[in-house]
Amino acid sequence: MSDIFPKWTNKLPLLIVVGASLVGTAVTAGVWYYFTPKYTRVGYQPKQPVAFSHKIHADQLGLDCRYCHNGVEKSWYSNVPAASLCMNCHNQVLKDDPKLQVVRDSFNEGKPIPWVQVHKVPDYVYFNHSVHVNRGVSCVECHGQINHMDEVYHAKSLSMSFCLDCHRNPEKALRPLEHITDLDWKWSDDPKLNAEKQQAYGLEMVHKMNVQSSQSCSTCHR
């Protein structure tokens, strides 16, 4: 009988069990990680029709975010500016630059510039910009350091747990309203001191502003 099954086959069941569990774990872990927004979204950096640099405009030139995204304090939506707004400056500055041809065409012909959407929450999430920026949550909390990006990429996961992290501990994100669009602003360059000051200020403001960052379904899903 021993001729039919060599001796090593005695270990086969064990190997199968161990192997299957390893493969199973690997697959589960793989799916678990690679299907999360952290993997699928963070780093998403599509090519835009115009090589617009936030770094130049917001950081070097010091334009406020709200010069272009002027609906952000009023609407749920932070608008992408119309070509006419670009032309406020670019009818003087770089007015013949070929890189701006698309913008000039849009302004002259009435065709919209097809910007590619980078940040997007699912359709069943009713995120509102105005309530965040008016209540001390800076752009940087969700969008990252856009002012240092030449081309915009998805910096944070914007997953449900990402939202909830902040809604559970709003004191970590609240800052004085005058620094909302100052994406480099910090309490201190010393990380430890910064964290301490943020915590103290945040807790004070949560109380002062009666912040009840809701964690129930109706906050975002309607």
């Binding site: 699928t40 979204r41 998403y44 599509p46 002027n70 609906g71 304090e73 009023k74 609407s75 749920w76 939506y77 608008n79 992408v80 500016p81 119309a82 070509a83 006419s84 707004l85 849009s106 302004f107 012909e109 009435g110 065709k111 919209p112 510039i113 097809p114 910007w115 590619v116 959407q117 997007k120 359709d123 069943y124 009713y126 509102n128 105005s130 309530v131 008016n134 209540r135 001390g136 004085p176 309203l177 403001m205 002062k208 502003m209 009666n210 009840q212 809701s214 129930s216 379904c217 109706s218 906050t219 899903h221 309607r222």
Partner: protein, 1122 residues
Amino acid sequence: MKTIPPSQAEPKSGQQYWRSMDQLQDTPEFRQWLEREFPEGASEFVDPVSRRNFVKIMSASFLLAGVGLTGCRRPEEHILPFSKMPEDYTHGVSQYYASAYPTRGSAIPLVVRAHEGRPVKVEGNSQIPGNKGGTDQFAQASLLNLYDVDRAKGFTKDGAGVDRTVALDALSKLGADVTATKGAGLSFLLERSSSPSRNRLQKAIATKLPQAKWFVYEPVDFDIHRQAASTVFGKAVRPNFQLGAAKRILSLDCDFIGNEQDAYTHIHGFAKNRKTKTAHDDMNRLYTVEALYSLTGANADHRMRAAASAVLPIAAKIAVAILSQKTGFSSVVQALEPIAAQGKADETWITECAKDLVAGGNHSLILAGYQQPLEVHLIAHVLNAALGAVGTTVSYLPAVEPVKGTIQELATALNAGEVSTLVILGGNPVYNAPADLNWIAAQAKPSTVIRLGYSAKDESFVKKGWNLPLAHYLESWGDARTSDGTLVPVQPLIQPLFGAVTELEVLARIGGLSKINPYDIVRETFSTLEGGDENAWRKFLHDGYLAGSAAKAVAVAISAGNTADALKSAKVLPAPSQNALEVVFQRSYSLDDGRFANNGWMQETPNPITKVVWDNVVLVSPTTATALGVGKFDTAAKTPQAEQGKFYNQVVEVTVGSAKVKGPVWIIPGMADNVIGLELGYGRPDAGRIAQSQLVNDQIVPAGFNVYPARTTNNLHIATGAKLTGLSETYPVASTQEHGVMEGRSIIREANLDQYQKQPDFAKLMNLHPAPISPALKDKGVKEAPSMYPNPLDAWKDKAVHQWGMAIDLSACVGCTACVVACQSENNVPIVGKDQVRRGREMSWIRMDRYFAGDVLNPQIAFQPMLCQHCEAAPCESVCPVNATAHDEEGLNVMAYNRCVGTRYCSNNCPYKVRRFNYLDYNKRPLNDLVGPHYRTPLTATVEGEWAMSRWWKSPEKGWRSDEEWELLKLAKNPDVTVRMRGIMEKCSFCVQRIEGAKIAQKVKARDTDNVAVPDGTIKTACQQACPADAIVFGNIKDPHSEVSQWKAQDRDYSVLEFLLTKPRTTYLARIRNQNKAMPDYQEFPGTSKEWLDRENSFEAHGHEEHAGHEAAGQETKKGAH
């Protein structure tokens, strides 16, 4: 511990409180409905698809899903900003414009919400003095007409499409031609309108084309009110009723709450005097004489059922009783006496009613219905004048002389060949003109026919001639006057979707006027009325009305002699008998005269009395049905018409003169005997895809049956000598009436005014026994049984800024269903079709429950809007396996659609039966799939020559709808509310999108302060906003000063099924009836409370305690009994 529900023994006197004839008879069909617990298909698999096929299809779906997994990555989406930014526009912020919904001779002022350029919701304009912002159901539903997939999408000539410019040039050329002949041979057929601009154009054209002739036709015409008033007072006046000032009201077959013009203002005034804050407040009292059971009858304190033909003698009797006490009316009394002698009625009813009206003095009001002959109107006006009511409850406003020509005259002229050019502006005469005119032939006679119509190819479509698409009012510039004469703008929110034109433009072009742009026309009218000031014009558009433009009442003096002369010619129609029945044609509560036939929201809004959807029915009283041997009271034939809880009603044939109409019979208690009620507006063969959505004998046919063939010039509203014969066929009828029966608990609580005054907290006395407390808890000193369901909300309640709640005043609610349509519009509630409703799958989040109570021959009706009660201890939440329904901190019971897996446990556990399940992908199916009962699957179906599944794959949002449907219907959706898919449970959310919107707006205002509490009155739910009666109030119950808190603090406040300890956030204020003790039909107790009283209860507190003592051992005090 299991809570045992209190026992509910049948009352000794038999059931007094029922929802349908079946329940009253306790038929096996009804028991089946009741005992089934779930509607068909919910607990078993009855669809024709077998389990095996189902598995096959499912595996195919999974395969497809697997193949497509690669497509799960986000698709690249574009943001397309403006090229040039428009002024005053912020993307994502809705815009609101004042406009008005024009009705026949009036208008409903509106504020319309536009989102990204598309109108998405209409609401009443509350800024206008005297207008609280309510609307009727039609104004709410008119939005969907804008996105009607079957509306005219282009110009046609002789049936072939032509260019817009070609058509408009042809119009102008016609204008030049007729100018040359001074309009000889030119005839216009108009609809009624209150627009000053149209009136001005018409006059200008009449001057320019003196030979042109003008005619007007409305199948349901309210002009008789003006005619009667002008006759009585000898000058051109029209009445304007102030129900708010009326304390004693007599309706002579006048459905002023439902089918009359400007019902929404009447309801507001009427309901104002029904709400009692304390037991000592004054209430109005409504007497009604009517044939059918109307909404007004449902709200009456005393209701006399009488054939429509008997209303005139009854009115005469009441008038004689009143006028003989007044001086100066002897000639009128003389004229009335012979009329009065021709009718029979309960004399005590009449004398006591007359006495009460006289006692009411100048706060009395008598109204006559539009369907009644002129004499009844004359009597009403004389009585109002005699009682001194002119100036308080009714005022007379100067009337614009209307177009005089009638459709009969026009038909004669057409047949005589006198008309060479016929211009039909609006209307649908081929469908709804009197049958004796043979309009379809008459319309074809002139050499040139031009028709301005809304539908693509409806009944009046002109085969030889021009068809012009009519613009929706939200696409048109126009103006109108409301009931009190206030000038309101009709302002467009969107360019005409299909290049449609307005009535004003067509008139101006044909008249060859210099200004043809509707905006210029309306602007010019405004200038002539108010001067050319641009600021005044802008303010007019902004506010939605012209301040001070309400008409000034005219002093009127009654001419008794003239009235007596006019009354002398009165002819009393013969009283109906079994062999010569009387037919009453009723304007439909859902479809009006047929103009809403292709509107899915209205088709699926239940008739407030019959609760039938998608159909009209032949209404008869139980006695008549028994006598004629038709319908369910025909016990001899023993033919059950409901099978498995579904209605298969006997079809009957109604013969009126030479015309015959066929429809299913429906027995309504409380109708006058020997009267047949026929609802207009149904059975339109060419209205469109929604109207054509019934499957009968494998044929797709229109919803309902057409009753216009039975309507002739001489019997437009009331026909006599009709016959009714039962046929052997049956017809399936969908009714929401028996869904969700609550088994006779004191769901609706009512008392007469005197009981209320004696025992102001009677509503709380009617609480059933609270759940027993276990001895262990009792030893610990617990007084109230803890809820069955753990309540996480208790932990948050004190911390949160708001706690939302709603109160509904049943005294004020008249059951008009404006709230139902408003909710459908606001919350993207889909329509499901008749077949699905028959399976108990209707989707409306708020339903209007209607209960009959008392005497079967003349029962009382009570309405109750039923919506999610937002229980604090919600039974639905504890059974959800995936936590898809849960509470938020502010007391809302919320649904997370994305979590829902469709177990439907929540719905099964909901004691109020207010949860709705999406059985099919209602938003993704083509409209012609509404028909049922076998539903196509996209796996095998093709749409526009393409495999439906592949269409769905390409555009998951669109599903497998055709492009034209999708492109239009998606525009009507509210962007703030998720459009739900198949397999999802949904229900009233208290308009959470409005709550969140208001909270966000307040936080934006608050910035870094703590001023985050939303001020009271900021949030109005859609139903509350639409309610013309102000019967619904919503707000923060944490704030004791909020309106909702104050309502809830009233004595009348109670919770439905309070003994389940679900602690609903929606509470009701008990209804008070103001009965007159002297009346012969006085009932000591309202019908609905009788059953409760029969269980040895009483409105006196002590009797109640005794009862509580012998019930439930160990229970010492009764909640609310002190």
